[in-house]
């Protein structure tokens, strides 16, 4: 009995260590499920659309989810006040918001990623952003979108399905306009 006990314990410990290693390796790297679905001409549902996130400004409540804007075209923009590239992109995103607000078709929703709230407020004031912003405190909402670097932008249709993804700074207004038009059509 004793002779079998030691190898059994060793085997269990070794299996647990290997399992932990495999889990760690599989958890690394960003999920590209949304990108793959779009490439296969599918329109995946926006991840965690019902998840309540703390509101940074302009919503009139303490928490909100993307579901709050169901029925409208939504441009989800991940940003942070410490992100220089986000600063460069901010005027273009604000321009899209003004256009969406004027037509009444939709809105931009900023997702402030792992940021200090007072710095984020200053950033919003400095760039005169007129759209609502939610906070992703621990970055888990961004992880659901496969976001590991900022800025990233997702265009959602009225059913909160992803129709376009920009995994870098948007440098052309045309891409955003085209994606918004596509979202409005679906």
């Amino acid at each position: 009995m004793r002779r079998k006990l030691v190898p059994a314990i060793t085997a269990v410990v070794a299996a647990a260590a290997v399992g932990l290693l495999v889990y760690g390796l599989t958890q690394q790297g960003a999920s590209r499920a949304l990108d793959e679905a779009l490439a296969a001409h599918r329109q995946p549902a926006a991840p965690e659309a019902a998840r309540q996130l703390p509101v940074l400004d302009r919503v009139g409540r303490t928490d909100a989810s993307l579901e709050h804007w169901r029925g409208k075209v939504v441009v989800v923009n991940f940003w942070a006040s410490w992100c220089n590239t986000c600063t460069a992109e901010a005027p273009l995103i604000e321009q899209a918001q003004r256009s969406l607000a004027a037509s009444g078709q939709g809105t931009v929703i900023g997702i402030d990623f792992k940021d200090i709230s007072s710095d984020a407020q200053s950033y919003i004031a400095q760039h005169q952003l007129s759209y609502p912003n939610l906070r992703d405190l621990d970055g888990s909402f961004a992880t659901a979108y496969g976001t590991i670097a900022l800025p990233e932008t997702f265009v959602l249709d009225r059913r909160l399905q992803v129709v376009g993804i920009a995994r870098a700074e948007i440098i052309s207004e045309r891409w955003l306009r085209t994606m918004i038009a596509k979202a409005e059509r679906t």
Partner: protein, 153 residues
Amino acid sequence: MTRRLVLVAIAALALAAAPAAAVTQRTSLSAIEPQVMCVTCGIPLEVAESAAADQERQFISRLVAKGDTAAQIKHQLVLQYTEAVLALPPDRGFNVVFYLLPVGALALALALLALLLPRWRRNRRAGPPPGDGATPSATETARLDADLARFER
């Protein structure tokens, strides 16, 4: 009487010392840095180099300048980033596993040693078993001699 006076003096000294003891030592950025993580890089803040890490340092420095204690600063950081910002997770909920795991591993190692050490010691005392092949038999010696003679030819 003298004894009473001494007791009163000791009590007075203790009361005078109490407010001094209540004063908490000021903290600093360098004291906080090893205790928290850079939330975007996943490494301790003291070794992190990034824009987000710099922002975190500035935030801590502002709170240090305001006179906040280390505990207050960590609380503010948790409000901003959740508990993921703490280098040492709080010892409650599932996090207890992280504290119990090393203790469990140590206990397991000690149990294995307790189980195996007596066996090893018994085996060493007993020495090698007889006829274990260390001394060649007469047939083996003859065969070895024959082989060597063949090689020398």
